[in-house]
Subunit: 362 residues, 4 copies
């Protein structure tokens, strides 16, 4: 197999002459080359390559959601792509172990050359945050400037434009709102669910009253259940929900939240299984990004202690703040708070069950 | 190979009849057995088995440190055991993925049976925290009671006694204080180091002044270096250090801190290499325990949302607090803040270098 | 929360007094306790606990498949449980890293006590192999005795009985045979597929003829495609398939194989998505068990070199043979050989597509 | 921080405009872009970036070994770099999980464009094999041509030249031969060791004779020990060793093998600890590369079944052969066969112990 033939050669196909010629350690130019600078460059390049792949997947999911009517078979495709994104995130977290073989002393051999280049300047990672749905007002401010101030020209415009457009979050919200199962022929999900919750809580209170407990213990537990009750009431009230949205305590609309709850509760119904997997993959992604930030903080701590990061930033402080603050799908994770045991779950009427099943097995 | 012979059979050696007969799901007794309760029991049992192994390793490291004179070859043994503990922690973090295959709905099938059993009642994990050096005053308070209130009789006594004894932290502190390299024949480490730091900072300031920067940028960077300077001065002053200890800002003694710094800076000297690996393994352990807590919080969030944990605890809230607060070796991690580039590192005199080398190669 | 109350305490619920009192290193009895024996015992116990959990999941999947008519919603449940089994396998492979911190020298400190206990005596792992479908005639013989000779009494009977019963493999085969999509109202899958394959191969040959290749290259590639053609013909012929089964080259029946092919090709149809995930999870399990065996061989090599294993076995040799030989779902993996590009895939008629879709979206 | 300043910006420093502009899916040019081709390109690019990093580390280790007299402190540096290489290998194995999210059907969407590009054409991976020490005569032949036939011009010359030069294997062999501990003032390692082995084997035989065993069992075990004895004799004889080298059964010279044995047995002596870590890291690397090949075979099996790989190769078959055959440090792994329990280990005389210790603690 000759390179001369017109057919594709591995090296050309992968543009390796370009990719493998893109490592230019600055320390090489001075007297003593710093052995570890190569690692610093290469690991950042692999991060950026993977970010490109993640953007490719998220963009494709968004495109599929933008369709007026979502083909059910697309949910399967989206689930598989989200699974891929999560597996990439697992690698991104895991490969921090490689970077951590570079110690503080190794880093100091070339760190002064870098100033002020900084990992916070990753344009792709900012894009990812915006595409997922992070709004500028929700961002942790860093050094008194809006985060896009570090970009210029086309790169800045791109970010600003993305801010205006649909995000994955907003597309999912609309999709959840459109799902038509909240009210079906003679089945009003919310009122059925509310009834089940009340039955459950009353039974729990009766159980506690009958149990062999100290007075103190009994009072404590009944108080806990009453707090639970209030929580359920607040969540199920559309007015309260809208108020919470105005106060910035919650982001997902009432209707979308109820649909997400229904999907979680009735996930064993064939038509809801893939939507359930999808919602779960979003919470997973949120957690994996948070874990990546968290481990990143640890890595910086090992490398720099409390020193100020390259780019003049107290990297650690900033990163630490974003671990929780930049999470996007907390409202979906919180659906778990509303779950009730299968034994209380309102049985679906036969006609509804059929509607949620396959034609074939009808 | 017959079970009847006197020789050892795998099943007996591992006491498997005992270990594999220790799973008694409560939900099995009622009408509907909850399929996932088995997983809940088994994963907790594997956690406890691994905790036992970790305690075995930490105890052995403590025993070796308790010796009046530490045999240098023991440091190699301790390094290998710490490496093992860290590999166990990697497994403990990783296997949370298994538990997360149990969803909220699955958990609710048997959760009501458990109350008030709670993961916070792991006696071995409390022991581990205390043995590593976590002091009761540093602990995040949970529900208004001291943490040992949940234990009784012998188990409580054991914890209280451990609180009084040497911890791994205190043993390491003493070992670091005993290391005799801070002042050696004509080499005063601290003053040499101080000189090197000042030289470095002055050169940095000169560099900034010469650079093509905006006035604002230049002022910002010089201010940063001046803050660095103050930081170094504060850390190197024994008085300031003692004050910081009184204020609870730092825990490790001045002398131990200086020894740890020396080990980190001159880790390439043969005699210091294993001590360096050891100090690093402690920071690693701290980070791995923190990561385990962090991922634990995420797992509880997926399972329960904002619901209150078994045992009446807001598990998530408690766990979240301990992620940072229960870290023990932050002072060792912060040594990184004091590192200076090899190009500024004071050259060791020949006689000192020999002292830190091997006999053979002298 | 007192241990005295009637409520459940963590320690009791998990039977920890039993589980944590089941480690009895033999070397402790003699003069020098071998520090690493504890690790050896504990890691084997965690393996056995996880084997119990895997058996629990596989048994539950088999029970669901035994039902005369499989409820479609059960496939979703089975997929989740297989996913759990695979995550457990990931942990079992990963935690070999812990055992590998024990070196040859450490192991020799207590190895002589163990003889002839051997990891090959894991009754649960043998059960797992049999339940998945490993037949005694397919097993790699070890030391001239049937593998169950090492068990006695009830344990031996249990294994022999399992050999007679349905395995997961045989249940899946029946389920695949029952799936009713091979011939549907005017759609004969096999003949449609055969047509598509031929179209594809002809196009490939035309492409090669038109390409700018050396004569040698062209001849080589055409030969490759002709071999492919023969392969497809052989596989699609029921007679040839049955002959291959008799010769032991393939295990899965013709009808089941065709159903598996259909599921793989049309996996994007809603009704086939979960069956597809399920089939894939079986190949995954096969691969993970093989990886575990493979890494096990490496671990033994590190620990013992070419020494003979405990239990008088040349462990390495035996294990090495089983890596490939004990795989069970190779026929499912080989479905990939039969895949054709989506562009050649016969379009499903509208009525069939509806049949494979959801009621709701009809 | 403006891109206009002379200072370094993250994007420029990492040459991201080059790296992120090097993905050109061929399927994009035709009618239907294949979504998964991007993943295929990007993951291969990350593999190549990591190969470059591994080559950087191996080259640096070789350079340090080439020095006439190896500075002891360099072994510590080499150990850290080998540890890094092994962590990279862990990532390379782990990220196969990402590629496996691409299914057979996805791959077929663009596979025909690639022909005959093939992963076997990775120039860097071939270089790595040669630099580690893989000789062309030991290679598994593929398709009847020498492996370097697929390269041309400068790339081919580079490989051929590397074949002629020192490999890591040959450098390590020389280093082991130079280590001066086999004969030290009144301590002849080999004869001491031989005596210890004989004592051990005699004691084992006596133990078996005294044990309560069936005649058959006893005979079996005594036979095993006699085989062990022969094995030891063969290994310790320099003549037999040289014969085994001629027959291609072993590669490492007699003297180097004896030094490696000494290091493994007396690894707790301070001066031998890092050499021991180093030898172990080589076995680790061998195993990790083998695991990567093994998992690679599985991945290809999932993707293509028994289909022929891109590049006209039966990839699976070739890869399968290399898993074991391309291992390089088997002789080091086999040292484990020669280990004897610490209780039989000849005590080092005081003067030797001092020689292997630190000056300071003398």
């Amino acid at each position: 197999m000759s390179e001369k033939t017109s057919s594709v050669h591995y090296i050309n196909y992968l543009a390796l002459d370009k990719v493998l010629d893109a490592q230019h350690p600055i320390s090489d130019k001075g007297k003593g080359a710093a052995h570890e600078e190569m690692l610093f460059i290469i690991i950042h390049q692999t991060y950026e390559l993977w970010f490109k792949q993640i953007l490719h997947e998220i963009q494709s999911a968004m495109d599929l959601f933008k369709a007026d009517k979502i083909d059910e078979s697309n949910i399967g495709i989206i689930v598989r792509r989200m699974d891929r994104v999560n597996k990439i995130m697992t690698t991104l977290v895991g490969q921090l172990d490689i970077l951590e073989t570079m110690t503080s002393l190794d880093f100091l051999d070339f760190r002064h050359h870098l100033s002020p280049a900084s990992g916070f300047q990753s344009h792709q990672f900012r894009k990812l945050e915006v595409m997922l749905g992070l709004k500028i007002k929700k961002r942790h401010q860093f050094g008194g400037c809006p985060y896009h101030a570090q970009f210029e020209g086309k790169k800045k415009e791109e970010i600003l434009e993305l801010e205006e457009n649909n995000s994955l979050f907003s597309l999912i919200e609309k999709w959840l709102e459109r799902i038509p199962f909240l009210k079906m022929e003679g089945f009003d999900f919310i009122s059925k669910y509310e009834g089940a919750v009340n039955e459950m809580l009353e039974k729990e209170i009766a159980g506690i009253k009958a149990a062999n407990l100290t007075d103190e213990d009994r009072a404590l537990r009944i108080r806990m259940i009453e707090e639970n009750k209030k929580y359920f009431e607040r969540v199920l009230s559309e007015d309260e929900h809208n108020k919470a949205m105005e106060d910035g305590e919650t982001t997902l609309s009432y209707k979308a939240t109820m649909s997400a709850l229904l999907i979680n509760l009735y996930r064993d119904q064939p038509i809801l299984h893939l939507p359930y997997q999808f919602l779960r993959s979003l919470v997973e992604l949120d957690h994996k990004i948070a874990t990546w930030r968290f481990r990143h903080v640890q890595m910086v701590e090992k490398m720099l202690g409390q020193k100020i990061g390259t780019g003049g930033s107290s990297g650690q402080g900033y990163l630490k703040q974003t671990v929780d603050k930049h999470k996007l799908f907390t409202d979906l994770a919180n659906i778990s708070t509303l779950m009730i045991s299968r034994s209380y779950l309102p049985e679906l009427p036969k006609n509804i069950k059929d509607t949620l099943g396959f034609n074939y097995t009808k």
